[in-house]
């Protein structure tokens, strides 16, 4: 439907090249699902077995990836999701996204070593910094309060988050 609309409103055909990437990713996932299912054994007296459903889903994914690629070549463009704080017209700010992913990965690597109280603080202050905050000291303090408070909160609930290097202090 959007393809038809775009053909009317935009005389120059735009091809969203990133959508080919999505189609390729879906193709790989679909094919992998099928290959993975081939390794399963079907027992006797089990008419359906564990393979049929993955086969159906994998094949469906492959078909969809082809359809998407065809639609893309015909000028089908995605309608990116808008939101309260989202400016869809601006180009994607990959630097900020990269910083955020880096901080999140750092958090998951360090959380067992340093403990949630420490990495949670870094996580909050780091993300705020990546998103453009320049009140670093305040962010660290807010982050520290939130992560220590959440640590105690979950401790009370009987869910011990890792204390890490602060073991014995908290």
């Amino acid at each position: 439907m959007s393809a038809a609309n775009d053909a009317v409103t935009r005389p120059a055909r735009t091809v969203d090249k990133a959508q080919y990437g999505l189609a390729a990713a879906l193709l790989i996932i679909g094919v992998y699902t099928i290959i993975d299912a081939r390794g399963l054994t079907v027992g006797f007296g089990d008419p359906i077995g564990p393979r049929v459903f993955p086969y159906l889903i994998g094949s469906g994914m492959v078909v969809l990836s082809v359809l998407l690629a065809v639609a893309t070549s015909r000028g089908d463009v995605a309608e990116a999701e808008a939101g309260e704080d989202v400016d869809v017209t601006s180009p994607a700010d990959w630097l900020t996204v990269g910083k955020l992913v880096g901080i999140l990965v750092l958090n998951l690597l360090l959380v067992n070593l340093l403990g949630w109280a420490v990495t949670g603080t870094l996580l909050f202050a780091g993300c705020a910094w990546a998103l453009g905050s320049r009140t670093l000291l305040r962010d660290v303090l807010v982050g520290a309060v939130m992560s220590v408070a959440s640590w105690y909160f979950f401790w009370e609930l009987g869910v011990p988050l890792t204390p890490g290097i602060l073991d014995g202090i908290l």
Binding site: L22, I29, P50, E81, A92, V101, V111, C127, L131
Partner: protein, 510 residues
């Protein structure tokens, strides 16, 4: 009469001072999170799920009820006081609500939204209480073939009715189904799509998927396209309504409720359609009555109707959820996941096995709804201040709580890695305009569908006729065919008549 007694028993369970406190905390937290821009009710429930871990089942149900209605109410506050709505269900509220606020009538808009939500939620929940037992009684008789067919219908409706692009709907669905495959096969115990990771043997925790796709994905997507200009928040005082506002709100509240409930109860994508219909209805009625209605400049009817429809459909979704175990909205899917962490599997047998639980939940919903009104009317100016939180700290906070939520499930960094991956999925589906609802329903319903499919075909020894040996199943398949063929046929017909197949939204914007 029977139903009333059971509901009163439910109240007996829910109405202790301690439980009321949990309900109040739930309402406050739900509203707090729901008011924050970019967070809808589904995300609010997903983010707040971990705080109920230490509670017993009854208390956590009560808290969920508060969080659920609080999140809904928070969303409408945001859409009235900010220019742009966060979720599809608030789009209609935002049109007139924001105009009312700009004319200095924010207090009245918030009041009619809150009272309308209360009325619609109460009537809706009572209807759930009266319908659910009957449907659950019937549903116990439903066999595996019909169950499979009903789930298929639900997925087809959600995928093809909503959104502008069917192919994207189906891509979302199949991504969800693929995620649902991960883990040990239910009957043979063989690992599927785990890539050798032992952590994935139990499947991907739905909380991690929901928080990743909703919260992480949203925060990442916003980070990539953050509006670098100050937000325009309209200040508000204590909500109140004059006599004239009351007179004009009654009709829309009741009509909105009547429209919203049935749409919530069938799998047609939740509140989007009924809020739209309610808006159109009120607009037509107002035009007929006055000639030149206030619509377009901030008519209170345009807030009262859609808000009531939104909340009535939010209540209506509990009918398929409790009677059939079928989630029809993203929020329902997250609620199912929440209930599953307590070993509760919603469905026809739940009503028979643990009726007190169901009635406590329904009573809690009514209590949460009432508390929402009592607590939130005075607090509205405070909530409005929340909208001014600087964006870097706001989204850093969302990422912080998303990580906390995922980490607290098993205290395993592996879940944090999954969270980042699903955050990437959430980012991608926003970038490529893929709807999130089919995805999340695919994750929940995929494994259930496989179970019922294999149950049905085991009985028939693998013969495909095993899927069609119930009258109900054949009837539902007929509906599936109609749901697929009808939109295509209508589109053809319209085109042949020379009417452009435009989105009905355009009519509203004119």
């Amino acid at each position: 009469m029977d139903t009333l007694d059971l509901l009163l028993d439910g109240f007996g369970n829910a109405l202790t001072p301690e439980n009321l406190l949990y309900a109040a905390i739930g309402v406050l937290l739900g509203t707090f999170v729901g008011v924050l821009p970019g967070i809808g009710p589904a995300m609010a429930v997903a983010l707040l799920l971990p705080i109920t871990y230490g509670l017993d089942v009854t208390q956590s149900l009560i808290m969920f009820a508060g969080i659920y209605y609080g999140g809904m109410y928070g969303g409408s506050t945001t859409s009235i006081l900010l220019n742009t709505p966060g979720e599809s269900a608030s789009v209609m509220t935002a049109i007139e609500g924001n105009k009312m606020a700009k004319r200095g009538r924010a207090a009245q808009a918030l009041a009619t939204a809150a009272i309308g939500s209360f009325i619609a939620g109460t009537i809706g929940t009572l209807l759930v209480a009266f319908f659910t037992p009957t449907i659950a009684d019937l549903a116990v008789e439903i066999g595996a073939p019909s169950y499979f067919a009903i789930m298929l219908l639900s997925l087809v409706l959600v995928t093809s009715v909503l959104g502008t692009s069917k192919i994207r709907g189906f891509i979302g669905l199949f991504i969800g189904l693929t995620i649902g495959l991960v883990g040990l096969d239910l009957s043979t115990g063989q690992a599927r799509l785990t890539g050798g990771f032992l952590e994935l043997a139990d499947g991907v925790d739905i909380v991690v998927v929901a928080v990743g796709v909703f919260a992480m994905g949203e925060a990442m997507w916003t980070a990539a396209h953050l509006r670098r200009k100050p937000v325009d928040v309209i200040p508000t005082g204590q909500p109140f309504m004059g006599r004239d506002d009351w007179r004009r709100s009654w009709g829309p509240w009741l009509r909105g409720t009547a429209l919203g409930f049935p749409f919530g109860a069938v799998p047609a994508g939740g509140a989007e359609t009924p809020t739209f219909l309610s808006y159109i209805t009120e607009r037509k009625l107002a035009d007929r009555k006055a000639g030149d209605s206030e619509f377009g400049e901030g008519a209170i009817e345009g807030v009262a109707g859609p808000e009531a429809a939104n909340n009535a459909s939010a209540a209506g979704m509990f009918v398929p959820l409790l009677a059939l175990g079928l989630p029809v909205t993203a929020t329902a899917a997250v609620l199912i996941a929440a209930l599953q962490t307590y070993g509760i599997q919603p469905g026809p047998t739940l009503m028979a096995d643990q009726p007190d639980l169901v009635w406590t939940l329904l009573a809690s919903l009514l209590i949460g709804n009432a508390l929402l009104l009592v607590i939130n009317l005075p607090l509205a100016p405070l909530w409005a201040k929340l909208l001014r939180i600087p964006r870097p700290q706001l989204y850093a906070g969302i990422l912080f709580f998303a990580s906390l939520g995922a980490y607290s499930v098993n205290q395993d960094p592996f879940d944090l890695a999954l969270l980042v991956i699903f955050g990437g999925v959430g980012f991608a589906i926003r970038r490529f305009g893929i709807p999130v609802l089919p995805l999340i329903l695919g994750v929940i319903l995929g494994p259930l569908m496989e179970l019922k499919l294999r149950e049905a075909l085991d009985l028939s020894g693998g013969d495909l006729s095993g899927l069609f040996n119930e009258g109900l199943a054949i009837f539902v398949y007929a509906l599936v065919v109609i749901a697929i063929v009808l939109p295509v046929a209508l589109g053809r017909f319209r085109r042949s008549q020379g009417v452009p197949a435009q989105d009905s939204m355009e009519e509203v914007d004119r």
